[in-house]
């Protein structure tokens, strides 16, 4: 088997292991056999394992959607990071930098503070409405950043990053202003949200998240070759027959969908999008045909592990997952900066 095949297979196995362990550990320990048992019984095959109702409830209704959440969100964040780094030919870009995450935060904060005043904002239930508003915020801020970066109808990558930084500062300060006016209860909601949590996962919204992650992700996978060619520079890609403008727009829209959905359901989870593609590049090389799927796997693995840690490190409370990813991601990020510093100073 080729080297790439081995890497892919081991990532897949690791993902399955993480997924199953994630279903098993927590405040209520469920043996692995019972984890499988309850999933099998769910699809209608009876087993002779004596699975209690509590175990069944914990595995299927609480942990299963949550484990799927961590896989989808981790994969979505990682793929969007890899693709955005590809179109901007800049290793330090991720979805946070072009305003998607902070836009969602701002709108979510607005919602948390004002949903009592404006009852019609709550369309379905409070959780889902929050998600919709946050998604809207992500799209609006991403769109403003995109509009600001247009010059003569073309996306100027440098302007886009600068506009992203500017809007990030603005939205962050507005969110800060909102926390200043928030009551203690609202403040707790807000902080929990800006630090990220998979606690809201349930079987109803899993499907929605799956659609918003898998469809744009597949579209991005089909752009793998274009992303490779973009490494030669936009002008060269154009000369080689690629519609650079369309590719960039497509990747930005798909990333906004994936990250917007992720942030709106689970709050801001940093560093996955930035760090995962870098780690994968060191093993698979820069070819996006491998980089994108491998990043998806590894992002899912990393967020599953982070979730496992966040649920088990301080029982019975839960540490916000954004803190865990930042704690895991920062050392890696610093290592990347050092590596590049050495490379560029040669």
């Amino acid at each position: 088997m080729s080297r790439q095949g081995i890497i892919g297979l081991s990532l897949l196995v690791l993902l399955i292991v993480c997924f199953v362990v994630n279903l098993s550990v927590g405040n209520v320990n469920v043996p692995i056999s019972h984890v499988f048992g309850s999933l099998i019984e769910k699809i209608g095959i009876s087993t002779d394992l004596k699975i209690t109702d509590i175990e069944y409830h914990v595995v299927y209704n609480i942990r299963f959607p949550r484990a799927v959440y961590s896989c989808l969100i981790g994969a979505g964040l990682a793929v969007s990071g890899a693709a955005l780094q590809g179109i901007f030919r800049n290793p330090l870009v991720d979805s946070a930098l072009i305003g998607i995450s902070t836009g969602a935060s701002l709108f979510a904060s607005l919602f948390i503070l004002f949903n009592g005043l404006v009852p019609w904002l709550i369309i379905f239930n409070e959780g889902l409405s929050l998600s919709i508003v946050a998604f809207l915020g992500a799209s609006i801020v991403a769109f403003i950043v995109y509009r600001l970066s247009l010059s003569n109808g073309e996306i100027n990558s440098l302007t886009l990053i600068l506009a992203g930084i500017a809007l990030n500062a603005l939205t962050a300060s507005l969110t800060g202003l909102l926390t200043f006016f928030a009551t203690d209860d609202e403040l707790r909601d807000l902080t929990f949200w800006t630090l990220g949590s998979l606690g809201s996962a349930n079987n109803d919204s899993v499907l929605l998240l799956a659609v918003f992650t898998i469809v744009p992700m597949s579209i991005i996978f089909f752009q793998a070759k274009s992303l490779n060619v973009l490494a030669l520079g936009e002008s060269n890609a154009q000369y080689m027959g690629y519609k650079v403008k369309t590719i960039k727009l497509l990747v930005i829209i798909c990333s906004t969908c994936m990250v917007g959905a992720a942030v709106s359901m689970a709050g801001v989870i940093g560093f996955i999008g930035l760090v995962v593609p870098h780690i994968i590049r060191t093993v698979s090389g820069p070819n996006h045909k491998l980089l994108l799927p491998f990043s998806a796997f590894f992002g899912a693995i990393l967020l599953s592990c982070a979730d496992m840690i966040s649920r088990t490190i301080l029982p019975p409370t839960e540490v916000p997952i954004g803190i865990i990813t930042a704690l895991m991601g920062t050392p890696v990020f610093i290592a990347i900066i050092f590596k590049h510093k050495r490379k560029f100073s040669v």
């Binding site: 490494a231 520079g233 000369y239 080689m240 027959g241 690629y242 590049r281 090389g285």
Partner: protein
């Protein structure tokens, strides 16, 4: 066939290229000569669809550029940039393969064989597995030259004239590879694979390899014609604002050199 009618280009009210007419309808080696800032690169970019002219129009094989899809045009003309730096740690092999992405996977065998052919012809075997960004400037140029050649390769007996645009391809190359690149480009024309349109500065090499020369100055084409017509020492001296003379070696080869005091002294003997 490329036909350009009155193409001009300007930014922010500053006219960079005055209206130019240009036509080529056979395989030929065209060199664009001229002092720095004469508009050579701009002209090449306008002809190759890298820039849109502010007025006038360009057509390929009788069809205007705006009616072409980028994808289709890429099979008939390729362009090599002055500078080449890539964003990721792709290897030389991967960079070369990118030129064949646009061709269907069903042609996998053909793709492989043309890559093999170009690699051998350009002497790139030793570089294949190295990271592109770690190559020297000259090696990068040779790989990029291979990549643009690969972009134009296609199957079939009868091919239309294809166009290879090279913007200062000799930058960073040592003497051997300067000559080899030009020889290869010359052979590309002689084998009827297509036309080569080059921006370069070396007037001696230009004299040896070109069929046709466009001499430019201050955004205008001063003269467009055969090497013998355009490259008179008088016209060159006037355009470059430096005194140049033509000398003939014993075996009849023509050279250009700057007339300086030291050379005058040598001539006096």
């Amino acid at each position: 066939m490329i036909e350009a009618e009155n193409i001009a280009f300007g930014v922010k009210g500053k006219q960079i290229l005055q209206p130019v007419n240009f036509k080529t309808d056979q395989e030929e080696f065209i060199v664009i000569l001229g002092p720095n800032g004469a508009g050579k690169s701009t002209l090449v970019k306008l002809l190759s669809n890298g820039l849109k002219p502010t007025s006038g129009r360009v057509s390929y094989y009788g069809k205007e550029l705006k009616e072409w899809t980028l994808d289709n045009l890429a099979k008939y003309r390729a362009y090599m940039h002055q500078e080449s730096m890539i964003a990721s740690s792709f290897t030389v092999r991967e960079v070369l393969e990118m030129a064949r992405y646009r061709y269907p996977e069903t042609k996998h065998f053909f793709n492989k064989s043309v890559i093999g052919k170009i690699v051998t012809e350009l002497n790139l075997e030793a570089l294949l597995d190295l990271e592109f960004n770690f190559l020297s400037g000259g090696e990068k140029q040779r790989v990029q030259f291979g990549r643009v050649l690969l972009q134009l390769e296609s199957e079939g007996e009868i091919q239309p004239v294809k166009y290879l645009f090279l913007d200062e391809p000799l930058n960073n190359l040592d003497v051997r590879y300067q000559i080899e690149l030009l020889k290869y480009a010359r052979k590309f024309v002689d084998d009827k694979r297509g036309s080569v349109i080059v921006v370069m500065h070396d007037i001696n090499l230009c004299y040896q390899y070109a069929d046709r020369v466009l001499l430019m100055q201050k955004g205008k084409v001063v003269m467009d014609g055969t090497v013998q017509e355009v490259m008179s020492p008088h016209l060159l001296s006037e355009t470059y604002q430096i005194e140049l003379e033509q000398i003939q070696s014993l075996d009849g080869e023509i050279f250009y050199r700057h007339i300086s005091y030291s050379s005058n002294l040598l001539d006096v003997q």
